[in-house]
C-alpha cells in the first residue's frame, strides 16, 4: 500500500496533533478541553478504522450463508463505546472543574489565573 493508501492513519495523526497542540498552546481552559476531546476522538477513529475490513459486512452471519462471509471486526468498535463514555465523563469532569475555577477566579484564562495566584502569594 502506498503512503496515501493508509490515508485513515493520516486523519488520525492530523487530528491528534491538532488536539495536542490545542491542549498545549491555548491558555483558555475550555479550549484546552476541546483540544483534549479532539485528541481522544483521534484515538477512537484509529480503533474504528482498525476494525474495518475492506468489503466486509456487518458482523452478523446471514441466514443463508454460502461459504465464508467477510465481515468487519466488531471488537474495536465495541471497545470504543467504552472509550466514548470515558471521553464524555472526562469532558464533563473537566468542564465542571472549569466552572469551579471560573467561580473562584472569575476567569478561564490560564495566564490570568497564574497572575492572580502570584498576586495573592506575594
Amino acid at each position: 500500500m502506498s503512503t496515501f493508501g493508509l490515508w485513515h492513519y493520516w486523519v488520525v495523526i492530523v487530528l491528534m496533533m491538532i488536539g495536542l497542540y490545542t491542549v498545549i498552546a491555548r491558555d483558555n481552559l475550555v479550549k484546552k478541553v476541546m483540544g483534549l476531546n479532539l485528541f481522544q476522538v483521534s484515538v477512537i477513529m484509529f480503533y474504528v478504522s482498525m476494525g474495518k475490513v475492506e468489503g466486509g459486512t456487518a458482523p452478523i452471519i446471514p441466514e443463508q450463508a454460502s461459504g465464508p462471509v467477510v465481515y468487519s471486526n466488531p471488537l474495536p468498535h465495541v471497545l470504543m463505546l467504552t472509550a466514548i463514555v470515558v471521553g464524555i465523563a472526562t469532558t464533563a469532569m473537566a468542564l465542571s472543574l472549569v466552572v469551579r475555577i471560573r467561580e473562584t477566579y472569575g476567569t478561564t484564562e490560564e495566564d490570568e489565573i497564574r497572575k492572580l495566584d502570584r498576586a495573592e502569594h506575594e
Binding site: L36, V43, F46, V86, M93
Partner: protein, 490 residues
Amino acid sequence: MTLHLPAIAILLPLLSAPICVAVRHALVTRLLTVAVGWGSLAVSGELLRQALSGAPIHYELGGFAPPLGIEYVIDTTTGYVLVIVSTIAAVVFSFGATTRGAALPAGREHLYYGAMLLCLAGLLGMTITGDAFNVFVFLEISSLSSYALIGLGQDRRAPVAAFSYLIMGTIGGTFFLLGIGFLYQATGTLNMADMAERLASLHRSRTVHVAFGFLTVGLSLKLAVFPLHQWLPNAYARAPAVISAFLSATATKVMYYVLVRMIFTIFGATFVFGKMGMDMALVPLSLGAMFVGSLAAIFQTDLKRLLAYSSVAQIGYMTLGLSFNSVNGLTGGLAHLFNHALMKGGLFLAVACLVYRVGSSRLDDLAGLGKCMPITSAAFVTGGLALIGVPATVGFISKWYLVLAALETGQYLFAGLILLSSLLAVAYVLRVVEVLYFKAPKSPDVREAPVSLLLPTWILIGATVVFGLRTELTAGLARSAAMQLLGAGS
C-alpha cells in the same frame, strides 16, 4: 463464594459507590466506606493467600472464556499489590476526619465517599485484570474520581491543580489506549497472556515498537516518572490531606504495577531491556528523579508539597529498581512499593492531623507544634526516619536491595548515588524537625489531634518500623514476586 472472590474484590467498592449516592446519609455512607475498606482488605488478603498456596488464580468474568471474555489473573505480584492498596484504603478510610480539608457543601459528604470508593474500585480493577483494555477502563475510573477528589481541596488553587492533572492524566491514559490499539493490531488479542505469547515472535515488528513507546510514555505520565512529574506536586499539595495520603500511597503504586506487568509479562524483559534498551532511558531518569525531587523538596515552604516532591524522588527509587532487570533490583522496587505506601501514607496522615488542628500545612504555621502535638510530631519524625532509610525502618530494606542490585551488576557509581540521594532526605526531614521542635509555637494552646485521627496514622507509621524488622511479608513477597516475573518474562 470463594470461587468468585476476584469479582467480589472489585464489585464490593464498585457497587457500594452508587449505594452511597442513593443513601445520601453522611454517617451511613461513612460507615459503609470504612466497612468496604476493611472488607477489601479481607478479600485481598484471602486472594493473596490463595495465590501463594498454589498456581495463579484465573477467573473468567461472567463465565466467558478468554481470549474473548475478560479474565482476571491473580499471581503473587497481583495479590501483593492488592493487599497494599486495600490496606492503605482500609486505614485511610478509617481516618477520623476524612472530609476535613475538603471544600464540601453540607449534606454532600456521601458523594465524596462515593468518589473514594470508585477510586478504590478502579485501582483494584487495574491490578486484578488480565485484559489490557480493561486496564484502561479501570484506569479511567480511578483517575476520574481522583480528579474530583483533588479538586475538592480547600485551597482555591485545588481545581486548577485537578484540571492540570486531568489534562496530563487524560493524555497519559489516551496514549495508553493508543498503545493497546497498536498491540491489538499486532497480536489480535487483548488478553495479556495471549499477547505475551504472540509478541514473542514479533520482536522486530515496528507496530510493536510503536505500541511499546506509547504505552511507556502513557504510563510514565500517570506514574509521574521524572520529568513527567509536573502534575504531581500541585495535585498532592492542594488536595485534602487525607486524599493526598490515599492517592500518594496507592495511585502511583498501581501505575508502577501496571508498568511492571507491561514490561515483564506482556513484552518480556529481553525485549524491553535487550532490544529497546529501556534501562538506558530509565536509569538516568530515575537518578534525575531521585536528585531533582529531593532537592526540590528541600526548598518547599508547604509540608504537603515537600512530601509530594519527596514522592517524585521515591518513584525514582522504584523505577531504578526496575531498570536493573535483576531479582534483587526488582525486589527492591517492589518492596519499596509497599514501604513507600506505608511511610508516605503515614506521613500524609500525620500532616492531616496537623492540618486538622492548625488549618494549614505551611511550614511557618507549623512552628513549635512538637510541644503542642507531641504524638503527631513523633509520628512525623518516625515516618521521616523511614524516608531517610534508617535501619529498622522499611526505607532501609528497599535501599538495601537497591544497593545490593547495583553492586551485583558492578555499577558501583549507582550504589553511591543511591546512598547519596538518600542523604537529601535527611535535609528535608531535618528542616521539618527544626520547624516542629525548635521554633516558638505561634499559638501555644493547640491541642493534640483526637484518637480517631492518631490511631490510623500510627497504624501506618508503626508498620514502617514493624516491617522494617519483619520483612517476610514485604521483601519476602516482593522477592518471590520478582522471581516469578523475571522467570516468566525471560
